[in-house]
């Protein structure tokens, strides 16, 4: 099968998921403001957890758990947005 452009696009996205353990773990802009202005404590814990904080549960190595979470999410989003677009697109006569 010939590699199509969007196969390459998906591979690039999966490549980003592979390097996700390199991401900065510093708080993001909103978290920083919430800490500085004293309302970070108001954040509530989620009522259920599936893959909390992009760390796949039950995996010993945190880097591996992050990569796994990234791959699962990337494939999930590819399927969801591709599927939604395929569902919504104009019917060609």
């Amino acid at each position: 099968m010939k590699l199509k452009w969007w196969h390459v696009g998906l591979l690039i996205a999966l490549g980003l998921a592979l390097i996700s353990p390199l991401a900065s773990s510093w708080p993001d802009g909103l978290e920083r403001v919430a800490e500085d202005k004293g309302f970070i404590e108001d954040a509530q814990d989620p009522s259920f957890e599936i893959i909390p904080d992009y760390v796949f549960p039950g995996v010993g190595s945190e880097a591996l758990a992050t990569i796994l979470a990234g791959i699962v999410g990337t494939l999930l989003l590819f399927g969801l947005s591709y599927g939604l677009a395929a569902l919504l697109k104009r019917r060609e006569a």
Binding site: G29, L30, R32, K37, F39, Q44, E49, D53, G73, A85
Partner: protein, 212 residues
């Protein structure tokens, strides 16, 4: 900039849910009218790319990081309604599966990062391109400006929502959120310009797709 549960009061959470539901409903209608065969794989790739890129926090100053939102990029390539639809998919999966962004705050997060970011990013990009011309420079500068503004506008909306919820006075929230996101927006602008440059070099025809 994903707002967790607990930051918004009920009125603000409910109001943003209503506005976002209307916006997303209209996006679906527009997509249903205009999406063609060629948009489908690009929609899939954009969803995957934006999710993965959002995981890559980059440091912006001592002790603070930021990450791509991606709304401007999606809107520039696909149009603002289709872009908002992809961003909504990303935000729903992040809230439900990854516990990033609260479920009660989903309406506000969709309003800020899907609707506002896509529309601000797209129309500023169009404005710059109409001034500088539909060429490589115009596209890259427009992409940078649109992407920077998308983050800035979303941050201002977020500050207003926090203030309306009584979390922090607007006079405190606004400069703090605008200041840090003016920096994060530079990262958003650079990443958006790099991706647009890559698309122009490899598949320039994708930029010519009808905007949805």
């Amino acid at each position: 900039m994903h707002i967790p549960d607990g930051f918004l009061n009920t009125a603000t959470a409910a109001a943003t849910y209503v506005v976002s539901a209307g916006g997303v409903g209209y996006s679906i209608k527009e997509a249903n009218k205009k999406l063609g065969e060629k948009h489908v794989p690009l929609m899939g790739v954009m969803g995957a790319f934006i999710f993965a890129a959002q995981m890559l926090n980059f440091p912006v100053m001592g002790g603070t990081s930021g990450h791509l939102i991606g709304g401007a990029l999606a809107a520039i390539l696909l149009g603002p309604w289709a872009g908002a639809l992809i961003m909504t998919c990303v935000l729903i999966v992040q809230a439900l599966v990854f516990q990033d962004g609260g479920i009660t705050a989903l309406g506000a997060n969709v309003f800020n990062m899907a609707l506002l970011a896509c529309f601000a990013g797209y129309y500023l990009y169009r404005a710059v391109v109409s001034l500088m011309g539909e060429n490589r420079t115009g596209t890259l500068v427009g992409g940078f400006v649109g992407a920077w503004a998308s983050v800035f506008v979303a941050a201002i909306a977020c500050a207003i929502e926090l203030a309306l919820s009584g979390r922090v006075p607007l006079g405190v929230a606004l400069p703090a959120m605008a200041g840090v996101h003016a920096l994060i927006g530079i990262g958003e602008g650079l990443i958006t310009a790099v991706v647009l440059s890559f698309v122009m070099a490899t598949r320039a025809d994708l930029l010519q797709l009808q905007k949805v």
